[in-house]
């Protein structure tokens, strides 16, 4: 008798567990940072040329599209850093229990949003 596996491939009925969300966001933020890096490198060199260059960049940075890009970049860096520290701790077998892992993933999400908020509103 052929045993039929039950399959559920409707992606809308699936939910990622929270540690998985943190993990996929770690990867996505890494890709985002990599793709935004040429702009950052160019802006870095540009800002160090003179006072006028620096001021020009600051006026550009206050316009809305660039601001959104900057928020995404800063959030990406924060999330990548903090989730990366969490992954290193997991590699060292710290926080492998399910409850602890859920708690740390919540903490990672909260801290990364909090730092992004601090950077832009203080």
């Amino acid at each position: 008798m052929i045993k039929r596996q039950t399959k559920n491939l409707n992606i809308l009925t699936m939910r990622f567990p929270l540690p998985a969300v943190v993990s996929i966001l770690h990867r996505m933020s890494g890709v985002i940072i990599y793709l935004l890096m040429p702009l950052v490198t160019y802006a870095f060199c540009y800002s160090l040329e003179s006072q006028a260059h620096f001021n020009f960049l600051m006026t550009i940075a206050s316009s809305l599209p660039i601001k959104i890009l900057l928020v995404i970049l800063v959030w990406g860096i924060c999330h990548h850093l903090i989730a990366g520290i969490r992954h290193i701790l997991l590699d060292m077998q710290v926080g492998n229990d399910l409850i602890v892992a859920r708690f740390t993933s919540k903490t990672v999400l909260l801290i990364s949003f909090f730092i992004t908020f601090l950077v832009f509103y203080l």
Partner: protein
């Protein structure tokens, strides 16, 4: 079972270690930048002052080099997972590596060629 060794400079274990050690250095760089920017106001003179000393230039260039090693290993894993045809994967990997190398050359050129404040 095959033993995991560090003999192969491009093997999986070595890549894993490279990624962790580069990450470890980059945390310190971010700590320096974060500490400086929270204690001083952010404007051109403080920014220039931070990036001017030789040790900070070397630090920044080293940071970029390590970041590119870190990112390159990560990019390889990502393209490995999502792009199945080998030819296109190689092409995209090549393009992304070129992007990274151009950046590191450009950055070291404009950092090391600056006048000291």
């Amino acid at each position: 079972m095959k033993r995991v060794t560090l003999k192969n400079p491009f093997g999986g274990m070595t890549q894993w270690l490279y990624q962790r050690f580069t990450a470890f250095f980059m945390i310190f760089y971010f700590a320096i930048i974060g500490f400086y920017l929270t204690t001083e106001p952010f404007n051109y003179s403080t920014w220039n002052h931070l990036m001017s000393p030789l040790w900070m230039r070397i630090n920044t260039t080293a940071f970029f080099l390590l970041m590119i090693i870190h990112a390159w290993i990560g990019v390889q894993h990502v393209t490995d997972d999502y792009i199945k045809p080998v030819f296109f994967r190689g092409l995209i990997n090549c393009a992304l590596l070129m992007l990274a190398i151009i950046q590191i050359i450009y950055l070291s050129y404009c950092l090391m060629g600056r006048e000291y404040v």
